[in-house]
């Protein structure tokens, strides 16, 4: 009996604490719910003739730098009409129709609604947009540039194409999770210049961190899919490709310089790195619409991440990489092409034999077409990258310009070589043309890629 009141008291206390917790949770949720609530903005009517052509042209440049068409156009579809599948670890989000169609596009969006979408990731009707749409970058755009992008989009051809809802698993298909993500990770507001840096660097930073959203692929993401701001440009992924690191941990054998970056972004080719491939091909093609000065500024800003230039260390690294490349590049004499009566080949590996017959015709000193000679493989980033996926993708599918356009070309070997042959070839290329350790997972990565190929 003596203990009973205290027991009674204890249970009562627990109950009070639980009730208190419930109230705190309810209040917190209420506050969050109120915080995240965004109303619909009234529909607007605009006319394509209402926009100044100069502003539209400026918007066109920004849309090109932002590579908007890549995610907002499905393969073979009308420009900006949406439908491109953006694969994320959480599911597939489809680029939306951003043509000025009133019913299926953004034709009823006012400039204020458009600005809110870019700055806060909220659609005109008030729904939260998933961060596959990189508003964590577009929030950095200036008001003037958002107006220009709006003018550009509203003067495109309207396309009647309904949006495809995202394929996300429960409970991420609840839009409130996008709001929670923003509470944790979205740092809103335009870019602020760093007065200690050059004008070029600041212009580059604005373009890279804002419209260009380079970090969306090249910066690693945390478990919740937000960019890890402490490891900016340390390498990430995009569209099924590995996006190599652009900082001091870059796998490029010759460290990137501002001039090499400029050449790569301007022409799609840098003579110490190679051609733009994979998802960088459309990025570079779009950048043709940007001004030289802007491309130069982007190169300046990115090059600063690779470390201070012209240090003795970097020069040594460059010289060593060039010497290694020269030493390893096959010469014409090594390409034996004998048919009848040939002696047995030197006992080189299966991969080396495949390389000599399938690759070396172009990949030897002075090989390839006069107009587009491939860079020495020992200078190529995919060969020295941390993962084999990019090299495998190139071996399987080759490199091709868009249908009907000019550009460097490499045939794909997907239908020509068997899986064990491709593994042997890729392992040989890594061993022969890179000073980095062998990849442990070539066969597994290939199996994943083959599983994804169209049947």
């Amino acid at each position: 009996m003596i203990a009973a009141p205290s027991q009674h008291n204890g249970g009562w206390m627990v109950g009070r604490i639980l009730l208190g917790l419930l109230i705190v949770i309810a209040v917190a949720f209420g506050a969050f719910f109120t915080w995240q609530w965004r109303g619909a903005l009234p529909p607007a009517t605009t006319s394509a003739h209402a926009f100044d052509p100069g502003i539209v042209a400026k918007g066109a440049e920004l849309a090109a730098i932002g590579n908007c068409a890549a995610c907002h156009t499905r393969t073979g579809g009308k420009p900006y009409a949406g439908g491109f599948p953006v694969e994320t670890p959480f599911g597939v989000v489809y680029g939306s129709n951003i043509t000025p169609d009133r019913d299926t596009g953004i034709g009823a969006w006012s400039e204020a609604a458009f600005r809110r979408a870019l700055r806060e990731g909220v659609a005109r009707d008030g729904t939260h947009l998933y961060p596959a749409f990189p508003y964590d970058h577009f929030t950095r755009l200036t008001d003037g540039d958002i107006s220009a992008l709006y003018a550009f989009m509203m003067t495109r051809e309207p396309v009647d194409q309904p949006n495809r809802p995202p394929d996300l698993s429960f409970p991420l298909d609840w839009r409130i999770f996008a709001a929670a993500w923003k509470l944790l990770f979205l740092d809103k507001g335009p870019w602020r210049n760093d007065p200690t840096q050059s004008v070029d660097w600041n212009r580059g930073a604005y373009l890279v961190e804002g419209a260009g959203h380079c970090g969306a692929c090249h910066t690693p993401r945390n478990a919740l899919g937000a960019e890890d701001k402490h490891r900016r440009f340390a390498g990430g992924s995009g569209e099924g490709w590995h996006a190599p690191a652009l900082d001091a941990t870059s796998p490029a054998p010759v460290p990137w310089s501002e001039d090499q970056l400029f050449a790569y972004l301007r022409d799609g080719f840098a003579d110490r790195h190679g051609v733009a491939g994979g998802p960088m091909q459309p990025v570079v093609r779009n950048l043709r619409h940007a001004q030289d000065a802007d491309v130069r500024a982007i190169a300046t800003y990115i090059a600063a991440f690779a470390g201070p230039r012209d240090t003795a260390d970097r020069q040594r690294q460059t010289q060593a990489a060039l010497a290694f490349a020269q030493q390893r590049e096959p010469t014409l004499g090594s390409l034996v092409r004998t048919t009848t009566g040939a002696a047995a080949a030197d006992a080189s590996s299966a991969g080396g034999t495949l390389f000599a017959g399938a690759c070396a015709t172009c990949h030897h000193a002075g090989g390839g077409l006069p107009a587009s000679r491939p860079v020495a493989l020992a200078l190529s980033t995919p060969v020295s990258d941390a993962q084999p996926i990019n090299l495998l993708r190139i071996v399987l599918a080759g490199i091709h310009p868009p249908l009907g356009q000019r550009g460097p070309i490499m045939p794909g070997f997907s239908g020509a070589l068997t899986d064990p042959q491709i593994v042997a070839l890729v392992e040989y290329v890594r061993a022969h043309f890179s000073r980095r350790p062998p990849w442990p997972n070539v066969a597994q990565t290939l199996a994943v890629l083959r599983g994804k190929e169209a049947p």
């Binding site: 390409l335 034996v336 092409r337 004998t338 048919t339 009848t340 009566g341 040939a342 002696a343 047995a344 080949a345 299966a350 034999t353 495949l354 000599a356 017959g357 399938a358 690759c359 015709t361 172009c362 390839g368 077409l369 249908l403 070309i409 490499m410 045939p411 070997f413 239908g415 020509a416 070589l417 068997t418 042959q421």
Partner: protein, 164 residues
């Protein structure tokens, strides 16, 4: 010594395993349909089928062909008895200089074995890797459509005869 299975026949070939298939076909086996165009896998004149896939034989080391099934134009028919793809190319007069045509026919054959009635767009996409500098692309396109019809007729014929 490498053993190659070409058009259903086994051939023992005494050649460096790095040698591309095209050279062995032409120099050793005297199968001259596949042509040397660029030697860089850019033009498609050397296209043959390996395990039913069209491949550039100029970039196909014979070391990679052990136990695989190689087919060339010689397997599609002969001058006396041309196969459906060859007949279609003759009937549409698809050849001008003709140098690209063996590669075109092999790529068309591969397409039609997977797709009996390809659309115009599907043919254009499938044939894109093969180049013709004479400018007969429209005739080649018609020839592939015709070949698809001829192949379907050939497939149907024995069934109709059996019913009779």
């Amino acid at each position: 010594m490498t053993i190659l299975n070409v058009n259903g026949k086994q051939h023992q070939v005494d050649a460096d395993p790095r040698t591309p298939l095209l050279y062995v076909l032409r120099n050793d086996l005297k199968l001259n349909a596949a042509k040397f165009g660029c030697g860089l896998g850019q033009c498609g004149a050397c296209t043959v089928l390996v395990d039913h896939n069209p491949v550039f034989s100029c970039l196909m080391p014979i070391s990679a062909l052990d136990g695989r099934y190689i087919r060339t134009v010689e397997d599609l028919g002969s001058a006396d008895r041309p196969g459906p793809v060859q007949r279609a190319f003759i009937e549409e007069q698809a050849a001008q200089c003709g140098y690209c045509i063996p590669g075109m026919m092999m790529r068309a054959q591969a397409l039609l074995e997977k797709n009996v009635a390809p659309s115009d767009a599907q043919i254009r996409e499938a044939m894109a890797p093969n180049l013709c500098r004479c400018g007969t692309q429209m005739r080649i396109l018609r020839a592939v459509h015709r070949a698809a019809k001829l192949m379907t007729v050939e497939l149907d014929t024995p069934i109709r005869e059996a019913k009779r």
